[in-house]
């Protein structure tokens, strides 16, 4: 039996003189004419030029080759160009093979003779490989263009509003009973010192009034299935025992006999067993602390129910499991304040009047436990306050990094104090000062002029607090001891408690520091490590309010540009696939796939690739002991042929 010898049509590109000066193209042409498996098209001066492209297309139309080898530059430059040109004249892209005789040959081999021989080997390998190619098919998929936003801080709020403005349905999931995140717990936002509630209130009401946004509070995402364009998200919403008809009028607060430590006030104040976080919250409805409410504890109280003018109290409300679908998921779960419990020198929790910046912010906040009044534990006004920078940061037993935004917060303390107590002395003890932008730096300069005294220690980790009569004494390397009445520890920002769990649920990566990892730090900084999932605000690392909003808008912009109603998304073409007849069901492929793209059909004992999730790394193919898994366009046969082609030219 004689098999017709397949032939590859060879295009030789001179690339101006970039190739032809270093490689003897005539000799290659001569070799090609004798090789038997190669048909030579003329060499062209610049194949990627408009003229060259036309030549390429015309020649393909005329010669109808089995396969094509383009001996030119790197496939990373122009593989796609020539594949698309081929498709435009009905030649399947898989039959286009590039031989990189420029970057990998002409430009790196001084001896022209050697470079010519190597070029022949590369072309031969490309031709041999091309004969093994199987046609590739472009795949597209219809997408859901709605979005789920997880976390209702400023970043999540802005993301939701932007997406809703583009007429997308948004599910905004917040674990607390109302929106606002960390910003609503502060009084003013440095460096512009805009009032936080004034900034947030209109945004909150915009969310409330937007019919495209469904706010789901007291809720957490506990399962996500699917992929970019087609996620199914399961949300567990805990009962709050107050119906949506509640307008937050607070009538029940007066009658509730139970006081509970308030987490919103960082345990520095109390709230009733029926509570809201702050007046004007979104949603407005109150919630009940089931563990403390007497109705639940011993059925001895119904006071709130009787007091409610709207009949909104419902002790029988049940937890709900809600399932929604979306094309993109935006993670806006923010941060947690740096934990300094383990740093003994700072005496946090051991000495009175030592607070973290978060606590200090609550104290001076008009919606705070003391309605904004700053006082010592004994009720008196402080006379001197110290702020310790980098408390628990940049040390191995705390946060090993610099959060980059706490110096501004630390500088803000003095300003907030002077707002109500103009004569208090403020001293900020620091080792490093970080003000990443000019506005932050001028804010710091203003604080110096306004009276904050900045003291530089040689080692901020050496700061030691001790009680000295009624006062607090601070020592540190390189400074004289300081005595004050109140200390504010400027803690860093660490990943939110749920980051790890969410990363597992979504199968995305975290950075070493525990914040969510970007798909690409520069080019796709708001993309998570899986398509269709975004990371915004402090979920992606410590940022200030301005950057939290910028990242939210950036992520939504990217999502909107990719998920367009009525437009299908293009899928990865060179995915893996598994031959069901060869698969032995060992599941080794499943263990190595970095994207969990492979599932096992338990009935048939075989594995199959979800080609929407697969990115085509080919790792499963290398692992498969049965030869069942195949990497499209990078098949074993193609690679074996290429190896052979390189060695036997």
């Amino acid at each position: 039996m004689t098999v017709m010898q397949k032939k590859s049509l060879l295009f030789l590109c001179k690339c101006g003189a970039n190739i032809s000066n270093f490689v003897d193209l005539d000799r290659i042409a001569d070799w090609a004419s004798k090789a038997g498996h190669i048909d030579l098209a003329e060499s062209h001066n610049l194949l990627c030029s408009p003229d060259g492209k036309k030549f390429f297309q015309e020649t393909l139309k005329q010669k109808k080759p089995d396969t094509v080898v383009v001996a030119a530059c790197s496939p990373k430059m122009h593989e796609k160009t020539f594949q698309e040109l081929a498709e435009s004249v009905d030649v399947n892209m898989s039959y286009i093979q590039m031989a990189n005789i420029r970057e990998h040959c002409a430009w790196v081999t001084q001896d022209k003779n050697e470079a010519t021989i190597k070029s022949i080997e590369l072309i031969n390998a490309a031709a041999k490989r091309s004969f093994e190619a199987e046609p590739l098919k472009k795949m597209t998929m219809a997408v859901n263009t709605d979005m789920v936003v997880i976390g209702g801080g400023i970043a999540g709020i802005e993301a939701a509003l932007s997406a809703a403005k583009a007429d997308r349905k948004v599910y905004l999931v917040e674990k607390e009973i109302s929106l606002g995140g960390a910003v609503i717990k502060t009084e003013d936002i440095a460096p512009s010192m805009e009032c936080s509630p004034c900034l947030l209130a209109p945004r909150l009401s915009a969310v409330r009034n937007n019919p495209n946004i469904t706010v789901i509070t007291n809720a957490e995402v506990n399962e996500v299935k699917g992929f970019y364009g087609n996620f199914t998200v399961k949300i567990h919403k805990k009962a709050r025992y107050v119906e949506e008809s509640c307008i937050g009028c607070e009538s029940c607060f007066e009658v509730c006999p139970v006081d509970v430590k308030s987490a919103f006030h960082l345990n520095m104040g109390t709230e009733k067993a029926v509570y809201t976080l702050f007046p004007g919250s979104v949603p407005a409805a109150a919630a009940i602390h089931k563990e403390s409410c007497l109705h639940f504890v011993d059925n001895s109280c119904n006071a709130c129910m009787e007091a409610c003018p709207f009949g909104s109290i419902n002790f029988n409300q049940k937890d709900e499991d809600i399932e929604v679908t979306a094309g993109a998921i935006i993670i806006a779960t923010g941060f947690a304040a740096g934990d300094i419990a383990g740093i003994k020198n700072l005496k946090y929790g051991a000495i009175e009047n030592v607070y973290t910046t978060s606590e200090f912010e609550r104290m001076v906040c008009s919606n705070g436990p003391s309605k904004g009044e700053l006082k010592l534990k004994n009720g008196e006004k402080p006379e001197k306050i110290a702020v310790i920078h980098c408390a628990g940061s940049m040390r191995e037993d705390g946060l090993p990094y610099c959060s980059g935004i706490c110096c501004v917060e630390a500088a803000k303390v003095g300003m907030l104090v002077r707002k109500q107590l103009p004569d208090v002395q403020i001293v900020n003890i620091y080792q490093e000062l970080v003000f990443p932008n000019p506005r932050d730096f001028s804010f710091y300069k203003q604080q110096c002029e306004a009276g904050t005294h900045f003291l530089k220690s040689d080692n901020i980790s050496s700061v030691l607090l001790s009680e000295e009569k009624e006062r607090i004494r601070i020592t540190a390397l390189g400074i004289d001891p300081v005595e004050v009445d109140l200390v504010v520890l400027s803690t860093g920002l660490q990943p939110s408690e749920s980051a790890k769990k969410l990363a597992e649920i979504l199968n995305i990566d975290l950075e070493k520091d525990g914040f969510f990892k970007a798909d690409h730090a520069l080019l796709h900084a708001t993309g998570a490590s899986l398509d269709g999932i975004y990371i915004v605000g402090c979920a992606k690392g410590p940022v200030n309010v301005s950057d939290a909003v910028v990242t939210a808008h950036a992520a939504i912009g990217d999502a909107l540009s990719k998920l367009v109603p009525g437009r299908e998304i293009e899928l990865e073409i060179m995915t893996a696939c598994i031959d069901p007849d060869k698969c032995g069901g060992c599941k080794l492929c499943i263990t190595v796939c970095p994207y969990k793209a492979i599932s096992n059909n338990a009935d048939k004992h075989i594995s199959f690739v979800n080609e929407v999730i697969c990115r085509g790394c080919g790792t499963c193919v290398a692992q498969c002991p049965s030869g069942a898994a195949k990497a499209k366009h990078f098949t074993d046969n193609q690679i074996y042929a290429e190896i052979g082609g390189l060695i036997y030219a």
């Binding site: 790197s74 496939p75 990373k76 990189n100 420029r102 970057e103 990998h104 002409a106 430009w107 790196v108 081999t109 001084q110 001896d111 050697e114 470079a115 021989i117 190597k118 080997e121 590369l122 390998a125 041999k128 990566d509 490590s529 060179m574 190595v592 970095p594 994207y595 990115r615 085509g616 790394c617 080919g618 790792t619 193919v621 290398a622 692992q623 990497a631 990078f634 074993d636 690679i639 074996y640 042929a641 290429e642 190896i643 052979g644 082609g645 390189l646 060695i647 036997y648």
Partner: protein, 143 residues
């Protein structure tokens, strides 16, 4: 032995090492002509059989070059490559192949100099060991 008569096959991942080699070209860094690259999407795609096949067909050295650990475009394919390589290196002597003929290394897209360094070193190593003669193992022709 002269470079031109020995062959080193290097499997390089598309995202880092192939790009690193492209950059070496862009910078006109001269390196031994016996280095021949086979592009794969990720070093994790490299089946140890590809390495064996290269030796069988006459390669004197084989390399796998991928992104640095932590930088794999597909999260951790390079770690898979590393695990497989450790096993492979242990097996090579049973086929009469000096494990020094095989090398796994990392070259980032921007590391043109490093690409040149790594492949030049490999070329030197192969020059020192000499050609590989796999007795009774070599296929005569490949389709």
């Amino acid at each position: 032995m002269p470079e031109t008569t020995s062959t080193i096959i290097a499997f390089v991942c598309n995202w880092c090492s192939y790009a690193g080699a492209d950059q070496a070209g862009g910078l006109r860094l001269d390196y031994p002509v016996n280095i021949k690259l086979v592009r794969v999407m990720c070093s994790g795609r490299v089946d140890p059989q590809f390495v064996m096949d290269s030796f069988r067909k006459g390669a004197d050295g084989v390399m796998i070059l991928g992104c640095h650990p932590g930088d794999c475009h597909y999260r951790n394919g390079n770690i898979k490559a590393m695990k497989r390589s450790i096993l492979l290196e242990q097996m090579l002597p049973t086929f009469g192949i000096d494990p020094k003929r095989f090398r796994l290394d990392w070259v980032a897209a921007g590391e043109a100099e490093r690409f040149k360094e790594v492949v030049t070193e490999m070329s030197e190593t192969i020059k020192n060991i000499g050609p590989l003669h796999l007795k009774g193992f070599v296929e005569s022709e490949v389709a």
